[in-house]
């Protein structure tokens, strides 16, 4: 039977050994588990609540569990410092080998920076944006902290084999990133649950032109359209990326010809306008011109969706010889220390600071939020993951989502504007 990538992966990992078909419930063997700040107190408390009086008695494989302290690094309060101390104790007690402790950054970015995830693997993480590793052909997905508890003990987990949705991206990549505009356009046109519990397979003529950074934005945002997996096939770009980070062998996934898709959507990016998601939902998307003239107080670039080199590079490139508008707080947070270093070496950070940008520590802070709260009546335009009401503090603040270029244009103009008006010759 012809299989999609998701069916193939869950067949390979199915504990029963049977072929997995969309709709089946299976128990699957996990290749890797990313666990962030829940690794400490929350897991320990859950263990005690479930009747393990000394906490989690063991982990299934200390080499396949990756603990990264992304949300709370550096600790912003003593409470968080105390929680981090519990994690350190638990990591040592359980013998977990891969622990990124004294390093700020977003776990998902570090998983890729350090080659901890490879094509064709089934990887889970107790964070919704774990789905992002589909950029390098992994079947990765967010699970809950109670699911993670089970995975830590057994290295297995139940899944419903997802139906698949084929997203065909056609057209040419311009000389600036458009991944955010693509995913927002899809959510706007088809709804923020178009891929509910499904596996997205990206394909089409644009894909080979997309950088890993852009693919990570598209896969990470799979969860904003409801998806379980959001995968690209492995190509030369993937192979080069992975090769420079890990020499462990891997077996990529490709869909079979004739595999069954529940839906197929095509988007041609050549005639796609710049877009924004208005408050307070990801799918509340309009062309940027319809939000034109909205005054802003804050602009941001960062998070697991847009904190990568190409997102920061376009901001630095556009800010050369320009200044951030008076009174606008433009906050940029690289996704990881590795991304930060790459930006430093390329001279981007100097340009940003000269233009009036606040560069803040890598991590989840600008999106979670821990950094840059908003007051009543304030407006923020941001290339981060979500724009829910209250996401950045006040329930009476407004958050617009956009790509890094549109955010930079707004930061310069002091209001939402079409980037083509600010940056001639794009």
């Amino acid at each position: 039977m012809a299989q999609t990538m998701a069916e193939k992966l869950l067949t390979r990992r199915n504990l029963s050994g049977k072929a997995a078909r969309a709709g089946d419930f299976v128990e699957a063997k996990i290749d890797g588990a990313m666990c962030h700040y829940h690794a400490g107190e929350p897991m320990h408390d859950m263990a005690i609540e479930a009747g393990f009086k000394d906490g989690l008695p063991r982990v299934w494989d200390p080499e396949r569990i990756y603990v990264l302290l992304d949300h709370h690094q550096p600790a912003l309060s003593q409470k968080l410092a105390d929680e981090n101390a519990v994690i350190r104790r638990e990591v040592e007690r359980l013998g977990i080998q891969c622990f990124h402790d004294a390093e700020p950054g977003i776990a998902h970015q570090m998983m890729l920076d350090y080659g901890l995830v490879r094509p064709g693997e089934l990887v889970v993480g107790n964070d919704s944006h774990t789905i992002g590793y589909g950029a390098v052909n992994a079947g990765s997905t967010g699970i809950t902290r109670a699911d993670m508890f089970y995975v830590l003990l057994y290295g297995e987990l139940w899944f419903q084999v997802p139906e698949s949705i084929k997203v065909v991206l056609e057209g040419r990549q311009p000389n600036y990133p458009i991944a955010k505009d693509i995913i927002l356009t899809l959510a706007g046109q088809h709804g923020d649950d178009i891929a509910q519990s499904m596996s997205v397979e990206y394909s089409g003529s644009l894909v080979s032109q997309l950088s890993i950074d852009s693919r990570m934005c598209l896969s990470t945002h799979g969860v904003e359209i409801g998806a379980k997996f959001a995968m690209f096939e492995s190509d030369e770009t993937t192979r080069q990326f992975v090769k420079s980070r890990t020499d462990k062998p891997y077996e990529p996934l490709t869909p079979d010809p004739g595999a069954q898709y529940a839906k197929e959507i095509t988007l041609n990016v050549d005639d796609m306008p710049f877009v924004v998601a208005k408050p307070h939902q990801f799918g509340n998307v309009v062309p940027v011109d319809e939000a034109r003239g909205t005054r802003i107080n804050q602009a941001q670039i960062g998070s697991c969706a847009n904190g990568r080199f190409e997102d920061i590079e376009i901001a630095a490139r556009m800010l050369e010889g320009r200044k951030v508008a008076k009174g606008v707080r433009f906050i940029i947070s690289p996704a990881s220390q590795q991304v930060y270093l790459q930006c430093l070496k390329a001279g981007l950070i100097e340009k940003l600071v000269e233009a009036g940008v606040q560069v803040v520590t890598p991590g989840c802070g600008v999106c979670q939020p821990r950094v840059g709260f908003l007051s009543d009546g304030e407006v923020c335009i941001t290339a981060t993951t979500r724009n829910f009401k209250g996401r950045k503090g006040s329930l009476n603040a407004e958050i617009y989502l956009a790509g890094p270029l549109t955010v930079t244009a707004a930061a310069v103009a002091g209001e939402i504007v079409n980037p083509k008006e600010v940056f001639r010759g794009l």
């Binding site: 859950m46 479930a50 393990f52 008695p57 964070d127 509910q196």
Partner: protein
């Protein structure tokens, strides 16, 4: 705390729209303790909810309930919500509810048969959600046996503990 799927749940309905996000259900980054969360859950949509919700009430929502970050809805159980019934549920919220044995049901069409403040009856054994006043009913989706078992155990950590004890017992049993 196990949840007995064989019981019929009746309660007063709080009705919500589409794509209600976990930031509204569980805004833990602003209200880090359960006591604070109880005072603020769902206020982004219904400011009166935290004060007026009563034990035994039922939440009815449109499509994509619980979208956004992976956060359990334990606070809803804490304020007394007896069941959540939605047109569709975001994948991670569904997993969160199953893994913590919080009664959640997917019943396409439910928003058309009940209004805010009316009574709703959730009959899992019969696979139906009913408005007793109007008699209108829609089907709810049954879970496979594996997931029913997780509800029965009281959640996935408890399910894990059961498996662990079983395996420990069979390992210590002398071989025949």
């Amino acid at each position: 705390m196990g949840f007995d799927l064989s019981q019929v749940i009746r309660g007063r309905v709080w009705k919500f729209g589409d794509s209600i996000e976990t930031d509204a259900i569980n805004p833990y980054y602003r209200y880090p303790t359960m006591e604070e969360l109880k005072q603020h859950t769902m206020e982004a949509y219904r400011p009166e909810f935290p004060q007026q919700v009563k034990p035994g009430d039922i939440m009815v929502a449109g499509r994509n309930f619980g979208c956004g970050s992976s956060r359990p809805g334990l606070v809803l159980r804490e304020v007394g919500v007896a069941a959540i019934v939605a047109e569709s549920v975001a994948r991670l919220f569904l997993r969160n509810s199953i893994s913590r044995a919080i009664p959640i049901f997917v019943a396409p069409g439910v928003t058309a048969i009940v209004q805010d403040g009316e009574t709703l009856e959730v009959d899992y054994p019969k696979g139906v959600v009913r408005n007793p006043a109007s008699g209108k009913a829609v089907a709810l989706r049954k879970f496979p046996p594996m997931i029913e078992k997780i509800f029965e155990c009281g959640g996935l950590p408890e399910f894990a503990r059961e498996r662990y004890l079983k395996e420990a017992a069979s390992a210590s049993r002398p071989k025949a």
